[in-house]
């Protein structure tokens, strides 16, 4: 099975999908500290929270050990 290389997100507002790296990340122009990770939907402008990396790793780990 070939893996899609980009992470796909579904926008929480317009329900369209987009690739995470095609999103304009808000952090660049954000005044707050760099702790935030948001992905702005290219279709409607809604800011979607990106899942933290540690959660992805946790999910993979759980998947692997669940069986």
């Amino acid at each position: 099975m070939s893996q899609a290389t980009a992470r796909i997100m579904i926008c929480g507002f317009c329900a369209r999908e987009f690739e995470e790296d095609r999103a304009q990340t808000a952090c660049g122009s954000c005044l707050l500290n760099g702790g935030c990770r948001w992905a702005r939907c290219p279709h409607c402008g809604y800011e979607n929270p990106e899942s933290p990396r540690w959660m992805d790793r946790l999910a993979t780990w759980v998947d692997r050990h669940a069986r």
Partner: protein, 662 residues
Amino acid sequence: MADGRASCHSAGGTGLPADSSRLRVALVGTPNVGKSALFNRLTGRYVTVSNYPGTSVEISRGAGTLGGEQVEVIDTPGMYSLTGSSEEQRMVRRFLFNGGADVLVQVADAKNLSRMLSLTLQLVELGRPTVLAVNMMDEAVRHGIELDVTRLSTQLGIAVVPIVAVEGSGIEDLKRAIIRGARERAPLPPVYGNGVGTAMRGVGAQLAGQYPIGTTALAALLIQADEEAIAAVRRTEADGGEQVLMTARRLTETFDAPVAYKIALERQQAADDLARGSVSQSRPFGADWGTRLGHALARPSTGIPALLVVLYLGLYKFVGQLGGGTMVDWLERVLFGRHINPFFERLFLGIPWEPVRSLFVGEYGLLTLGVRYAVAVILPIVGAFFLFFSLLEDSGYFPRLALLVDRTFKRLGLSGRAVIPIVLGLACDTMATMVTRTLETKRERVLATFLLALAIPCSAQLGVIMALMAQQPLALSVWLGVVIATFVVIGALGARVLPGEGPVFHMELPPLRRPRLSNVVTKTVARMQWYFLEVLPLFLLASVFIWLGHLTGVFELLSRALGPLVRSLGLPPETATVFLFGFFRRDYGAAGLFDLQRQGVLDVVQVTVAAVTLTLFIPCVAQFLMMLKERGVRTAVAMFVLITPIAFGAGFLLNLVLRSVR
């Protein structure tokens, strides 16, 4: 002029890097049909994105291998029709007209094929090798849609390949079809029935020169008086095209309605016929629960009661009572009260210098106040709020909210689309202020920024206020009524004061869906993590400032200066501190208010007045900085100057009214 042949406006002439030895495959299609997904499949996603010369429209190019052959894959911006005046449409028209691609691959959504086929017909008219990739077959099957590929392929005269781009199925078939398409003869143009079809054929027959696009397409463009097409005919025809251009002009005038409609209508009719013949749907769309519930939520008669119930259960019961009541109680009393604070106090007991000790464990200590506010008050409340928010978000409810509020928002000079920043403001006003950028007009951006600063409480503030008043539903209704009234009245005034055209509202409504637990959890945790990472340092910073202020006496001075103002609202002097906190961060101020109420310093009227004033009062420093950045100094300062008297005026009046009613 003598060499007026296709070569003079070949791909090279457009300024695009053209590698003539390679086959060029262009992906064309309406937006959101999976073009990018297919592009990634075909290219392995090492792509260069370039702007088409003279435009800001992006096209991506990538290298791929089809049947052992190196090809160039070009992704074009999504569109429904080649005729039209948007920048994208002009760009793609120019690109195709200049022979920018050898094979066209239209990507279409299998669930909406009849809406896609009119573009297919336009592509076939171009007379270039074309392949139709019917994508999202997985979803179509789930919707009970069946597709007669052979029949469609025969009728269109091009290869039709069903694919699932995200899974990669059908891709090999598609690659073969592309290679075959490149070798085969171009498809015959479709034949349209009535007057328009005859006219197109008539004009087409008069064209003698060599063109990079088919004569049917060219004829259609000529009848629509497309400038690029006319220029090409002038260049290419031996007699400068006088004859044929005159015929086209005469036809343009004979049609009563704009000819673009006639042609579009005719094409769509043909597309519908094609779809009717080869697509069948066993289950009618609109019968499933998601669609029906979606309709109910979008109608005021059922949607507004449903909204109220959801807000009552979600905000009042869950965030206010469970998050702000039960959870905060436990964290404060047990975790901090019995364990953490005593531990820290013992730890710092050894430090002889009182000011240093009070920095960490005093009344406004970093650990005993800053950390306690962040962890024991804000975290459970905000966590509960984000869980509720993510649940609504994941169910696809927000577009319905946009629809429901559109009429009201129009009065405020906004369109329903402005619920995006407003709803995000309920999470964090600072972020929402930045999102106002996505609104269409400057007027809308200014109005939305203003309303966010004035009347939209952020998640922590909202949660704390729910918790503050969880035992007093009446006070909560008063707070809600005043804030909503301010939002609407001041918003309407703002829309009057700021001249400009009203916005237009249009939105696609995606079906309602069952929220997925994993999605909801991930989004909630992501939001909490973001919030916490942002809020904790600022809370600590605020504690340090307050400590410094105490040490130097500045804080007392400020509190005393605020004294008369606070007294005029009928509030005890301690609340001056809360307002000072509030300016550092709205949520810090709200947490301070929460603390005061739990100490029993405030009565119901005072809680209500303080909550209203704090909600309307100036945003936290971070939001004000964002306002400066997004709207400029003058606008931001003007907003500050307006909001302060509105907030305190509202508090003042509310106090008078409530006191006299009691």
